[in-house]
């Protein structure tokens, strides 16, 4: 295990009266894959969004590769960064969404190019080359000129992964990347993620795919009701959960897997 790439200290988040995250401590080693599992509403996605500041935490600190996200330390105080500064910090954190969120008015290639071109002001010719390579990597070299609505869900999600990778991020966050896909399309996305993990990308994956967690993750975290209930190596957490809540959740997940 390398040094921690992502460190979360005492993360708390409220939406109005709902206490979504109740103090989460969590760290992810560089080059490792960590899966967040747990029932819906347990705060997994919110935790992921705290990491890149899409939903800034109310309390606690998020560190990514030694940078404090969204805040500046001044003496004993933490001062929120400006929107521009937070935006700049997000360049090193790639994110893939459940509903893909490709830009519908751009082709697949333009989607992949959008980050480097608009954020880094990269050269157009170079970026086009980079985007082609990335589309090739996710197996969509021949789909560059297609608009998102001309692609299947699995293809759209792979374009979305390529788009995030185009910013050359240090970490990748996946927010239920296969939950909106038809079952037969899940594997093409998971296999791209497997390759990415094998190449040493630091990844946090919110997922319901227990098979993927078992096979690819270095670390599994079970969340429930805004806290991490249990975490550790997938063999330990998934095969031999210590807490009642984790056992219950995994039993239900296994049942629904069998039905599929």
């Amino acid at each position: 295990m390398g040094t921690p790439m992502i460190v979360l200290n005492g993360i708390q988040k409220r939406f109005d009266s709902v206490h979504v995250l109740k103090g989460v401590d969590y760290s992810v080693a560089g080059g490792s894959v960590s899966c967040l599992i747990g029932p819906s509403g347990s705060g997994k996605s919110t935790l992921l969004r705290c990491i890149n500041g899409l939903q800034p935490a109310d309390e606690g600190e998020v560190w990514v590769d030694g940078d404090l996200i969204g805040l500046r330390i001044e003496g004993d105080h933490l001062i929120p960064l400006s929107e521009k500064e937070v935006a700049d910090q997000r360049r090193q954190i790639g994110m893939v969404f459940q509903r893909f969120n490709l830009f519908p008015h751009m082709t697949a290639l333009e989607n992949v190019m959008s980050g480097p071109l608009r954020v880094n002001r990269a050269q157009k010719a170079e970026t086009r080359e980079l985007a082609r390579q990335l589309l090739d990597r996710v197996g969509l070299a021949d789909r560059g000129d297609h608009y998102p609505n001309e692609l299947s869900g699995g293809q759209q999600q792979r374009v979305a992964i390529a788009r995030a990778l185009a910013m050359k991020p240090k970490v990748m966050l996946f927010d239920e990347p296969t939950s909106a896909l038809d079952p037969e399309l899940v594997n093409e996305v998971l296999s791209v993620m497997r390759t990415l993990a094998a190449e040493g990308m630091t990844m946090i994956v919110v997922t319901h795919e227990m098979g993927f967690a078992r096979e690819v993750a270095d670390h599994v975290c079970f969340m429930d009701d805004g806290v991490i209930v249990e975490e550790g190596h997938p063999d330990a957490v998934l095969a031999n959960p210590q807490t009642v809540r984790a056992r219950e959740f995994l039993r239900k997940a296994a049942n629904s897997d069998q039905q599929n």
Binding site: M95, H105, M106, V119, M167
Partner: protein, 315 residues
């Protein structure tokens, strides 16, 4: 958990019972449904009305068609039309810029800015445009001198209001400020209509707010175009209001002519002809624009007349 399947199964069985389905016994051919006799009644009534109107228009000399023909392309009318078009263009440009600014202000996290924009829209949409036109024309009565000054401090520059606010400036001011309020609502609706995930995706790539806006705006434009085109048509027609402050627009030009020759109806027909022609052209360009901005979206189904049911009814 209750167990619904049992009741579902029974109700489905009942529902399917009365329909007898035979497969491949005898081929059934389709033919169009018989048209309702009322259809012909409706056609007859409408034809009658059209013919009556044509008869009246052609035989009643008060329509003054020769006068219409005489003035349709006359210099005074065409000048008026040109001024109306210029005014519409200027008002649309200023109004749109104002509308985008106000819409962005409405979404501002600064409550003061957001409320300011809301108040603006509330005021300019809530008072009649005609009053606004007359008001701006008479602004000199309120402020004889228009001065650029530090509040409660010294005056920097001063102008005579009567010299500054010509009918043209009053018309541009009144229509643009009003237009801005309507455009603000249209733009705001468009921005709100873009999926939340698009903002998040742009932000997650590390785009700063201005870059995020440039991802969102083209998507909002798609929903903004149809109401904006409507607004353009409305504004084009609303410019006729400036005839009350003596600006020589299309309507005022027609009025000037009929004040001299008393051919009121023919000249109103001339003006109406040009308004109608231009609004028709605008509608055509609207359709072109909408097609351009629907790039990347599934072709939207066009509203059609009800199609005939596929299964022939029992006769």
């Amino acid at each position: 958990m209750p167990s619904p399947p049992a009741s579902w199964a029974s109700s489905r069985a009942e529902a399917s019972e009365p329909v007898s389905v035979t497969t491949g016994v005898r081929p059934r051919t389709r033919r169009p449904r018989k048209k309702s006799p009322w259809r012909y009644v409706a056609i007859a009534v409408i034809l009658f009305m059209v013919l009556s109107l044509a008869d009246v228009a052609l035989t009643n000399p008060n329509f003054g068609w020769p006068v219409v023909g005489q003035y349709l392309f006359s210099a005074v009318i065409l000048h008026g039309l040109l001024l109306t078009l210029e005014l519409t263009a200027v008002v649309m440009i200023i109004g749109s810029v104002l509308g985008v600014l106000l819409a962005i202000m409405r979404t501002s996290s600064n409550e003061f800015v957001a409320r300011g924009a809301w108040t603006y829209v509330w005021f300019f949409r809530g008072t009649p445009l005609l009053i606004q036109v007359i008001f701006w024309f008479n602004i000199a009565a309120l402020f004889p001198e228009i001065e650029l000054a530090v509040p409660f401090g010294p005056t920097l520059v001063g102008f005579d209001a009567n010299a500054l606010v010509t009918p043209w400036t009053a018309a541009v001011l009144a229509l643009s400020l009003n237009e801005g309020a309507y455009m603000a609502e249209i733009v705001r609706g468009g921005l709100l209509g873009v999926d939340r995930g698009q903002y998040e995706a742009a932000q997650a790539l590390g785009m700063r707010p201005n870059k995020v806006f440039r991802i969102i705006m083209p998507q909002a434009v798609r929903t903004i175009i149809p109401p904006t085109a409507n607004q353009l048509v409305t504004t084009f027609k609303n410019t006729a209001l400036v005839s009350v402050i003596g600006l020589a627009d299309l309507l005022h030009s027609a009025q000037v002519v009929y004040a001299l020759n008393y051919q009121t109806i023919p000249l109103l027909i001339v003006a109406a002809f040009w308004y109608l022609l231009l609004t028709s052209l605008l509608s055509y360009f609207q359709a072109l624009l909408e097609r351009k901005y629907s790039k990347g979206y599934a072709p939207r189904s066009r509203p059609q007349a009800k199609s005939e049911p596929a299964v022939p009814k029992e006769v």
